[in-house]
């Protein structure tokens, strides 16, 4: 797989939500199988605490998209910031938690980035060159296997509890130190920075 896999984290006033580690666990499994690099992504007005919480996890980088416009949450600011980052960095796959907040803005992001979007995924498997994502349509009465029709950018959102936060492996050898550049003025677009790998 060409570009990196991005695991988009989500925070509340109490800090990083545990669902973020479920997304990282899925990202680690996919990255291992596909031979991709994995980046944890923080979107915030001040991402330092979330980045610190992610530093010990086994990821290749912690990418912080930091902008005053990202607090409080609005779908427009989040969409603009991540669409800009996706266009600049071309990740192969962008993983989200299927939270209420993600449902509010990620479809707009998919439209903005002209991306394929498979939502509310419960599992995945890799068949040769194809990654299959499993969903539960018909209100969970049936399962369906879904694949992307194009090369990307492609987006997946993960059902809460489908992957285990405890499975997000740590990297005992090193901590990933994000390097952030902050924008002081309010802007509808995001600034990005990444840690040296």
């Amino acid at each position: 797989m060409a570009g990196a896999i991005w695991a988009i984290t989500e925070s509340s006033d109490d800090g990083l939500k545990s669902i973020s580690f479920e997304v990282i666990a899925c990202g680690q499994a996919l990255a291992d199988t596909l031979g991709s690099s994995l980046e944890a992504v923080v979107m915030a007005a001040d991402g330092s605490a979330a980045a610190e919480a992610l530093a010990s996890k086994r990821v290749d980088a912690v990418r912080v998209i930091e902008d005053p416009a990202l607090a409080p949450y609005t779908p427009d600011a989040y969409t603009a910031a991540l669409a800009q980052a996706i266009e600049a960095e071309a990740p192969s796959l962008v993983l989200f938690p299927h939270t209420y907040q993600a449902r509010d803005w990620v479809p707009r992001l998919a439209a903005e980035a002209d991306a394929g979007f498979i939502s509310d995924v419960i599992a995945h498997r890799v068949n040769g060159d194809e990654t299959v994502f499993v969903r539960q349509p018909y209100q969970g009465k049936l399962n369906s296997d879904c694949v992307f029709a194009g090369d990307g950018p492609n987006i997946v959102s993960l059902q809460l509890g489908a992957y285990l936060a405890d499975d997000a492996a740590i990297s005992p050898a090193r901590r990933v130190a994000p390097k952030c550049s902050r924008r002081s003025r309010k802007s509808p677009t995001g600034s990005t920075c990444r840690a040296p790998t």
């Binding site: 779908p75 449902r103 479809p107 018909y138 694949v147």
Partner: protein
């Protein structure tokens, strides 16, 4: 206020689902259908707004011939007229392809507000509404529980997680996705049912709304369903051994990590 309400015809909640020979869809034969539940609440919200704001509701539906039954019901409930995106080229699309078609149809209507359900009871993507808003270039808000028009803006109550709510104000035109259960959906009266027979249903093809056939439906999708199947059911019981403290700890771990109910 002119309001477009997007509805989808889906299998009834108790309908027996038979997987079609194509392996990726539900067989149409003898399939009991209804208007998608959250779309019914979107329709009810639209009708109430139209009644209080001296407006009208235009129903927009993408679906095959049989979807006319759902459209007639919406008209019987009080919608003024309907647009039915009904062409073989529209079929087999994902949320992106469906939203592209709906946007092209709604752009021609000069509406102030679009309402959709939160998500469909069949595909359940929870994507079509916000993608449609992005295609129209309009603001959107999801999981809406209350709507208060305020001049050329609209104030809405959103449901958040963990029992929280949020009030948001959006400029019009805008799109809202409506949560189920927020009101009492009206029944179609006999007079409404009779009147619906005379109301206009405009049948629309891709060419009518300026789209190439390969931009919509199966040809325009960005994702593909390769198999639809009944999930494997696992049965059996497990005896957890050990003293009470150990057994409880093991049980809690299994409930968290295997059953995922805690």
């Amino acid at each position: 206020m002119k309001i477009a309400v997007c509805i989808k015809q889906v299998p009834e909640g108790e309908a027996r689902l038979v997987i079609d020979a194509d392996g990726i869809s539900i067989a149409d034969a003898d399939l009991a259908t209804e208007i998608n539940e959250s779309d019914q609440y979107a329709l009810e919200s639209g009708l109430r707004l139209a009644e209080s704001q001296d407006g009208e509701v235009v129903v927009v539906c993408l679906g095959p011939d049989r979807a006319e039954e759902a459209i007639r019901r919406a008209l019987a409930m009080g919608a003024a007229r309907a647009i039915h995106l009904n062409d073989a080229a529209f079929q087999g699309g994902d949320a992106a392809a469906t939203a592209r078609a709906l946007a092209a149809a709604i752009e021609r209507e000069n509406v102030d507000l679009v309402l959709t359900g939160l998500q469909s009871d069949d595909a359940g993507w929870a994507q079509t509404g916000p993608i449609l808003a992005a295609r129209l270039g309009w603001p959107s808000a999801t999981l809406i529980m209350e709507i208060e028009p305020e001049g050329d803006t609209i104030k809405v109550k959103r449901e958040l997680e963990a029992g929280w709510f949020q009030w948001v104000r959006l400029p019009l035109p805008a799109l809202l996705t409506i949560q189920s259960g927020i009101s009492t959906v009206r029944y179609a009266t006999l007079k409404g049912i009779m009147g619906a027979k005379k109301k206009e249903i405009a049948k629309v093809t891709p060419a009518d709304i300026g789209l190439a056939p390969d931009a919509v439906g199966g040809a325009g999708r960005k994702t593909r369903t390769t198999r639809l199947y009944v999930p494997e059911k696992t049965t059996g019981a497990e005896i957890i051994e050990g003293d009470t403290a150990t057994a409880v700890a093991t049980l809690v771990e299994k409930l968290q990590k295997e059953a995922k109910v805690l």
